[in-house]
Symmetry: C2
Subunit: 183 residues, 2 copies
DNA sequence: TAATACTTTCAGAAATTTCTGAATATTCAA
DNA sequence: TTGAATATTCAGAAATTTCTGAAAGTATTA
C-alpha cells in the first residue's frame, strides 16, 4: 500500500478525531489505515506507513484489540501477524459506544448513586443532591434508551432515523389509538 | 460554601468526565461547582474552593462562556462578577452536543466530502473511498437524526425514550397502516 | 538445544496540555 | 484624573500523555 495524499489526509484527520473518541492519535491512525485497506497489514507495514516506532504500533494494536476493533490473521509460511479492521462501520460505532459506556458512564452512574444514598448534611448538600439526581436520571435515561436502540434491527433503526422528527407524528398517532382502546 | 466530602467527590469526578466531553479537568470542576451550588460564586470563591490559581479560573470561565454554559451576575454595591450555571441539565447536554457537532463532526463531514469528490487514482483508493462513504453516511445520518430529535418537544422525546425498543412495535404498526392506505 | 523471526514491554525522552502568577487591562467611584 | 478593585492575558513552569527503542519474551524451525 502507498500513502497517497487522499489516504494521508483521511488517516491524519481520523487520528485527531480518535482522541475525541477515547483513544489517542496513533490508535486512531492505525485504525483508519486498517479500515480503508482491504488487505491486512503487518505491524511493520503500519509503522512504516505512519512513520512511528514498532513499539508504538504494538501498543496501539493492543488498545484496538481491547476495543475489539481489530482482527489478527496469518499467512501460510509467514510468521508475521497481519491485522485487519473488524466488522462494519456500524459495528465499530456500536463498539465504541459500548466501550465508552462501560469505561465512563457506568462508573459515573455508580458514583452518583452512592452520593444520592448519603444523607444530606445541610441545605446546601440537599440542593446539590437534587441536581445530582437530575444528572443521574438524565444519564440513565439516555444510556438505557441508546441500549434499547442498539437491540433494534438495523432496518428498523434505519426507518426510525429516516423518520427524523416525523417520529413525533407517529407518537401522536399511537397515543390516539391507546386512548380509544382505553374506552 | 464549604467543600464537604460529598461535594468534593462529585466535583472531582466531574472534572475527570469533563475531559471526555471536550474540555479540561478544571473547566469540568468549575462547572460542577456551579451546577450544584444554588448561590452564584465569585471567581475568587471558585479558585479557593478548587485550589487553583486566579488565572486558571478566568480561563476556565471563558471556556464555559464560549460553551454558553454559564451566566454572569452582579450584586449591588459589589464590583465582583458572580457566576452561575445556565439552564437545566437537559439544556447543558444539548449544548455540549451542539458545540461538539460544530467543532468536531462538521469539519469531519466536510473533509470526508472533499475526499469523496476526488477521483480515485487506483483500485486501492477506490476501495478507500467506498469505506469513507460509509463513514460519511453513518455520521451524517446520526447527526441529522440527533438534530431532529433535539427539535422534538421534551414531552415527546420523553415518551420516545420511555418507549425504548418498544418503538419497533409502533413502527410496524405504522407500516401496516401505510400499506392499507396505499390500497 | 540453539538460532531465527517475530512481538511485547517499559524506562525514560519528547511532545503536548494545563496551570501559575506577574504584568497588563478594565471598570468604576471619588 | 487618579486610585482601588477586579478581570484577563500569556510566557514559561509543571504535569500529563505519548512515543521510542533497547531489552526481554514467545514461537517455530532445524
Amino acid at each position: 500500500m502507498r500513502m497517497t495524499p487522499m489516504i494521508e489526509s483521511f488517516v491524519c484527520h481520523f487520528g485527531e478525531m480518535g482522541s475525541r473518541w477515547g483513544f489517542n492519535r496513533t490508535v486512531g491512525q492505525i485504525y483508519a489505515l486498517l479500515v480503508i485497506n482491504q488487505q491486512p497489514l503487518s505491524a511493520n507495514d503500519i509503522g512504516e506507513l505512519l512513520g512511528i516506532s514498532r513499539g508504538n504500533v504494538s501498543m496501539g494494536l493492543k488498545e484496538l484489540h481491547s476495543w475489539q476493533l481489530v482482527h489478527t490473521t496469518h499467512r501460510p509460511g509467514d510468521r508475521k501477524d497481519y491485522y485487519q479492521s473488524r466488522g462494519s462501520i456500524w459495528d465499530m460505532a456500536n463498539r465504541v459506544f459500548e466501550e465508552r459506556r462501560k469505561r465512563e458512564i457506568d462508573p459515573t452512574l455508580s458514583l452518583l448513586r452512592d452520593i444520592l444514598l448519603d444523607e444530606a448534611g445541610n441545605a446546601e448538600e440537599a440542593y446539590a443532591q437534587e441536581r445530582i439526581a437530575e444528572i443521574h436520571d438524565l444519564l440513565e435515561n439516555i444510556t438505557d434508551w441508546a441500549q434499547s436502540l442498539q437491540s433494534l434491527s438495523p432496518e428498523k433503526l434505519n426507518t426510525l432515523m429516516k423518520l427524523g422528527s416525523g417520529v413525533g407524528k407517529v407518537l401522536e398517532f399511537k397515543d390516539k389509538l391507546m386512548a380509544k382502546k382505553a374506552d
